[in-house]
């Protein structure tokens, strides 16, 4: 019977099949852990006298609570002693259990969803979990990857399996030619605006069509990253030569690489396979996108007017954002710009932003911070001289981490600030109490930093 990509990967990992009453038991190939959602799980193991079953299938890093600045004396300005304890607890736990950890001394330290792919640990056909909802990022490689809670982190540590009901499948078909200046971030914001923040609930998404086939791995990661923002369990792209070229030569790439690629090529949706749902989107209809409200589904093209509220909740969102229906969103004054996060902190994102910053200056009073996704990404950007472009423009070039995406490490805005952010969530107060967040691509964020108002990057022209 014709199968979807999701079905093929799922079936390879079923230990005990799902029944009418009980979820399936699924084998997990790769478990990524970080400091926020793992300490209580390790405590649970200790209380119960359990060991980590497969330390060799577990990888750790520190990202959420880590400072993105270094003091003059080399010390790290943690936001609270508690944040430092959290990081130290992760390092102690992984050391005690023999888990490979990319801590302060590793060039691979960084946002957990940047680290996995950079190490080549993220591979097609895998099941990948992490105590973090943006684990869906790894689906870009044709893996089933999803976020789990701390109790489940404890489970996977203890037995490398997870109980899970099988989600339904949904194809998101985007075909045609993307207009110039439209980025992967715009594509996913368009998709979420179209299907809604609950549109993917209960589904595993497969992104299909020539737009994704032609997209780089970094772009595919940006798209899959935000699958969760549509409520989906995970999002996937079928592996192809682009995927293989990315993985080849990385630390965890399979030894017999050709044989692995041959197997991975079989991980595609068969002709005639039936999805539970299909959504068709014309690439030509997608424009650069920004959000105007307080969830990622409240997105519009940057050249459009702020919509009229359809409900009390919509109006409350507009009130919080201090946005007025019927006015243009472009031209809205901003206070801060953040370029980073597991959505948009990879080398391509930084290059795209640098192209706009090159030879220009950040507008007066607009604090702009650029946070690479990993130490390696930082070094690569510096080799290309991107850091010099950012600094010359008046932006801050920081150390790797999650930073202002959720502000756990103290990188936050001031109450009332409007922040244009390349991250994934624009909830009330996420980037600090009272902070208003507008989600956008690195290109739009950079153009906005230059002008000080929300700006369509296609209108920037050549630098002076």
């Amino acid at each position: 019977m014709a199968q979807t990509l999701f079905d093929k990967v799922w079936n390879r990992h079923v230990v005990v099949a799902e029944t009418e009453t009980n979820p399936a038991t699924l084998y997990i190939d790769l478990h990524l852990i970080h400091e926020v959602t793992s300490p209580q799980a390790f405590t649970e193991l200790k209380t119960r006298g359990l060991k980590v079953r497969r330390p060799d299938r577990t990888l750790a890093t520190i990202d959420h609570s880590t400072p993105t600045r270094i003091n003059a004396d080399g010390s790290r300005p943690y936001v609270t002693p508690q944040a430092e304890t959290q990081v130290e607890t992760l390092l102690a736990n992984t050391k005690a259990h023999g888990i490979e950890t990319h801590g302060w001394d590793s060039d691979n330290r960084g946002i957990v969803h940047v680290m996995g792919p950079e190490l080549g640990a993220t591979q097609p056909g895998m099941t990948i979990v992490c105590g973090d909802s943006h684990t869906s990022t790894h689906g870009a490689f044709g893996a089933i990857a999803f976020g789990i809670g701390t109790t489940q982190v404890g489970h996977v540590l203890a037995n490398q399996c997870l109980l899970m009901p099988k989600p339904k499948t949904m194809a998101i078909n985007v075909n045609g030619k993307l207009p110039n200046g439209v980025t992967p971030k715009d594509v996913i914001l368009h998709i979420i605006a179209e299907i809604g923040i609950g549109g993917g609930t209960g589904y595993a998404l497969e992104y299909r069509g020539n737009v994704f086939e032609e997209m780089s791995m970094q772009g595919r990661m940006t798209v899959c990253n935000m699958s969760i923002e549509a409520g989906a369990r995970c999002g996937m792209v079928a592996p192809d030569q682009t995927t293989f070229d990315y993985i080849e030569g990385r630390k965890f790439a399979p030894e017999n690489f050709e044989a692995a690629c041959e197997d991975w090529l079989s991980l595609c949706t068969d002709d005639g396979a039936i999805f539970d749902k299909e959504v068709n989107i014309r690439a030509e209809d997608i424009k650069p996108m920004v959000t105007y409200g307080t969830h990622p589904g409240m997105g519009i093209s940057i050249d459009s007017l702020i919509p009229t509220a359809q409900s009390d909740a919509d109006q409350a969102a507009l009130d919080y954002m201090q946005m007025t229906s019927g006015e243009k969103i472009a031209g809205t004054k901003v206070d801060k710009v953040f370029i980073g996060s597991c959505t948009n902190s990879r080398l391509e994102d930084l290059r795209a932003a640098a192209e706009i910053f090159r030879g220009r200056k950040v507008a007066n009073g607009v604090t702009t911070i650029i946070v690479p996704g990993s130490v390696i990404t930082k070094y690569q950007a510096e080799e290309e001289g991107l850091d010099k472009i950012f600094i010359a423009a008046g932006a801050e070039w920081r150390e790797a981490g999650c930073s202002m995406c959720l502000g756990m490490n103290g990188d936050i805005g001031a109450p009332g600030d409007l922040v244009v952010s390349t991250s994934n969530r624009n909830f009330m107060g996420r980037q600090g109490p009272g902070v208003r967040t507008v989600l956008a691509s690195p290109e739009t964020a950079a153009a906005t930093a230059i002008t000080g108002v929300i700006t369509d990057p296609r209108k920037m022209g050549a630098a002076a």
């Binding site: 489970h155 037995n159 969530r425």
Partner: protein, 187 residues
């Protein structure tokens, strides 16, 4: 906090009338760097319960009735906002909450609540027909919620067998360990 088997709950009730009470309201982000479950109960709804200067607000949560409530009632999309962190559930349980009834719940935290053995029960109109201070009785076997103060009964769907079994075991960890100890398959 201990993982107790799911049982009948009878308690005073605290009603939070708002919809979309998100995880940031239940457990503000600054407490997410805590590495133990102990003490999280003190921080539940911290921004509703305390002024910026640390003094208590006059929110119902601080009233004697709020303090005595083991049942929380809310509207749509309780515990929404996308975060998967369990500090939210551990905090509610740490504060003595034994059941939450709402007109709907966010999925990630609904799953976490199952894994902790904390009943998250979906019940239409529960927020309209209960007041803070009412005494409610929840029977997990048949799903009935009885408002003893007003005499009104709400029928909810009893938990699915798997969920009920996890609840009866006192959370997912206990459930799986029991199964393994007995040599039973989980599926």
């Amino acid at each position: 906090m201990s993982f107790e088997p799911l049982k009948q709950v009878t308690s005073k009730t605290l009603v939070l009338p708002a919809t979309n009470i998100d995880t940031d309201q239940i457990m503000p982000a600054k407490f997410l760097s805590m590495t133990t479950k102990a003490g999280l109960g003190e921080h539940v709804f911290a921004n509703l319960r305390y002024h910026a200067d640390g003094t208590k607000t006059d929110h119902d949560l601080n009233s004697p009735e709020g303090q005595a409530s083991q049942i929380l009632v809310a509207g749509h999309n309780f515990a929404g906002g996308g975060k998967s962190i369990e500090h939210v559930i551990a905090g509610l349980m740490g504060a003595g909450i034994q059941s939450v009834f709402a007109t709907s719940f966010a999925r990630l935290q609904f799953r976490n609540a199952i894994n902790y053995g904390l009943p998250f029960v979906t019940c239409q109109d529960i927020d309209k027909d209960c007041s803070t201070g009412d005494i409610l009785e929840y029977n997990p076997d048949n799903g009935d919620i009885k408002n003893i103060t007003t005499g009104k009964t709400f029928n909810t769907l009893p938990a699915a067998p798997f969920v009920a079994e996890v609840g009866a075991a006192g959370g997912l960890m206990n459930f799986v360990r029991d199964k393994i100890a007995k040599g039973e398959a989980i599926g």
